[in-house]
């Protein structure tokens, strides 16, 4: 996705809107997305190698990793909230440009109490077909599953021993129960991620780490032999993905 949207930061708090803050240094704040499996870094150079051990005992490859976050907010230590104007970001491990996003051009330097965002889209934002850049990126969910967009696309192959590798498609969407296709039951699976205190320094770079192994083990130990492909229409699998997503993100500490 080459299309870039200009970034701005909105001060949500009105307390200080009218005050002159010209003496507060600001920075162009960049956010980098890092990826790991256990203690090993995962990058586009590692795609396709069946090498990552799961808690359940398989080894897997990461051949495609894309995910979406939305509603990103920075909370200053003094309580002010900075809402990133860009409503969502689509990250793609194979496109390095997508892994460094701008959170704003005039972000005050200083101490912040938290950064939070939604992994995926809350229902209010998960509107079918309304985001041209995501449509162009082929990020849609079929109408028969409630429409809207994917939250996560993690594809690869896995092996339990030396047999021919099998495919897996760990795709996370809003859970849809199609037991009765005429009465689809939808359940939100997007979740809020809250990362604790951090500092915005003048160099203006933050880094978040996605721990890929967590998708397969915490708290639910994922059995790829049971759940590997066709997970989009699997209501129970979607709920387990949401559970496991809770521990996936943390601040990156090199």
């Amino acid at each position: 996705m080459n299309k870039k949207i200009p970034f701005l930061v909105l001060w949500v708090s009105t307390l200080l809107m009218g005050c002159s803050k010209t003496d507060t240094p600001t920075t162009q704040l960049q956010l980098q997305w890092k990826h790991s499996w256990g203690t090993a870094a995962v990058s586009s150079a590692d795609l396709n190698q069946i090498q990552y051990p799961t808690a359940h005992g398989e080894r897997l490859s990461v051949e495609r990793l894309r995910y979406l976050v939305s509603q990103m907010v920075l909370v200053h230590q003094d309580g002010r909230e900075l809402e990133v104007e860009t409503p969502y970001f689509l990250m793609d491990l194979s496109e390095s440009e997508s892994l460094q996003i701008s959170l704003g051009n005039d972000v005050p330097v200083g101490d912040y109490s938290e950064l939070r965002f939604v992994f995926g889209f809350l229902d209010e934002d998960n509107l079918d077909g309304v985001y041209p850049d995501l449509n162009t990126a082929n990020w849609n969910v079929p109408a028969m599953l409630g429409g809207g967009y994917h939250y996560l696309q993690l594809d690869g192959k896995f092996q339990q021993s030396d047999e021919t590798p099998q495919q897996y498609n760990y795709h996370m969407i809003r859970a849809a129960d199609r037991s009765d296709p005429d009465n689809l039951i939808l359940q939100e699976t997007a979740f809020e991620v809250v990362l604790g205190a951090f500092e915005v320094s003048e160099d203006g770079v933050l880094s978040i780490e996605m721990q890929l192994d967590q998708w397969f083990q915490n708290p639910y130990t994922w059995d790829l032999a049971q759940w590997n492909t066709m997970l989009m229409p699997n209501f129970d699998a979607q709920l387990k993905m949401k559970e496991n997503g809770a521990t996936v993100f943390r601040w990156y500490r090199p």
């Binding site: 080459n2 077909g129 850049d133 162009t136 082929n138 079929p142 495919q167 229409p233």
Partner: protein, 354 residues
């Protein structure tokens, strides 16, 4: 929906420019199909090759003119025939020496919406202008020397004036030729199929077509949408590269030969599913003569190889094993993506010359 060409006369602007070389051109704005406008981001028009009526007219003439080939017997349109969705019926095309190449000619339409900007089956060409350079000099295709081609055009009784009108007094060279051809190619827009009309609320789908759409979108049946788009991505391609399980080993490495990365071996660009009725045979090597052969491949014919795409999830079973009814309905749905208006558009045929 009748596509119209919208011309914006900018002669005053260009005429008043400081450069005496600047031609008085008419800016050309694509009329974007309604469903593209609604669902997709804007097409790619390079800043250094803005579209003009004069550039498009020149590009169209060049596209259909064998003057670009080494022995002046073959035009771009010899392999990219308008009546075949700008592809051709042969499995692989013959060059000017009568020797076949090793790839099927890709259809040409909606190329301005290829946001990856990688063209050809293997993605070796970056940018539409760049893409047009290679076939002219390829020994297996038009086998021409670009300097000789440029000289030929410069000595032609009509081309110098056409280049002057499109690009000013710059010397005719390969760069101007491919810029003009790319401008013409960007006008080849297919966006008025039965399914587009369905999306616009103008027609209904038949029961088989509707079920075929469901097969296409159902992850437990066809699961075609992960690579081939959806009603919300009416390009009907992701323009990305996949190994779709054609072979267990490769005689053609595809993207892997371009990137040098063995993980890319056997990957080829996803073609659009528009106009399939006109663009047989199918796949990068034209191995399938019919659409049902293609469906059978995904249903029962998948071959495992280390780089097979994870989305080819049923490879262990040979494919997704569609029922005969689902296969037939999927075919019916795919035919709703045919755009007869595009196929018969007189603007896509060579002009009569005086």
């Amino acid at each position: 929906m009748k596509k119209k060409l919208v011309l914006w006369v900018t002669a005053a602007f260009t005429g008043l420019s400081c450069s005496t070389d600047a031609p008085e051109t008419s800016e050309y704005r694509l009329e974007i199909p309604e469903v593209f406008e609604q669902y997709l981001i804007a097409p790619v028009i390079p800043a250094d090759n803005p579209m003009t009526a004069e550039g498009i007219a020149l590009g169209k003439r060049l596209f259909f003119d064998p003057i670009l080939s080494g022995n002046q017997t073959m035009a771009c349109a010899h392999c990219h025939m308008p009546e075949n969705g700008f592809s051709e019926r042969r499995r692989t095309s013959l060059g000017i020496a009568g020797v076949p190449g090793h790839r099927n000619a890709m259809p040409i339409f909606n190329l301005a919406w290829n946001f990856s900007d990688r063209f050809a089956w293997d993605g070796k060409e970056i940018g539409l202008e760049e893409q047009a350079l290679e076939p002219v000099s390829n020994p297996l295709e038009m086998n021409a020397d670009w300097e000789q081609v440029a000289q030929r055009l410069a000595n032609h009784p009509q081309y110098p004036a056409l280049f002057q009108a499109a690009f000013g007094s710059a010397p005719i060279d390969s760069i101007l030729v491919v810029k003009a051809i790319a401008q013409f190619e960007r006008t080849l827009i297919s966006g008025n199929s039965k399914f587009d009309q369905y999306l616009r609320g103008e027609v209904s789908l038949s029961a088989p077509e509707q079920n075929g759409l469901e097969v296409f979108m159902d992850e437990t049946r066809g699961d075609c949408f992960h690579c081939h788009g959806s009603p919300n991505n009416p390009l009907w391609t992701d323009n990305a590269f996949h190994n779709n399980g054609l072979d267990a080993s490769f005689s053609d490495l595809g993207l892997g030969a371009v990137s040098g990365d063995p993980n890319d071996n056997g990957k080829f660009r996803t073609p659009s599913l528009r106009n399939l009725s006109y663009t047989a045979p199918y796949m990068h090597d034209g191995r399938f003569n019919t659409l049902m052969e293609v469906i059978d491949h995904y249903s029962e014919g998948l071959q495992y190889s280390p780089t097979i795409d994870p989305l080819m999830k049923s490879v262990a079973a040979g494919g997704v094993h569609l029922s005969p009814q689902d296969k037939s309905d999927l075919l019916a749905f795919l035919r709703t993506l045919d755009d007869a208006e595009f196929q018969s558009n007189p603007d896509h045929r060579p002009d009569r010359r005086p």
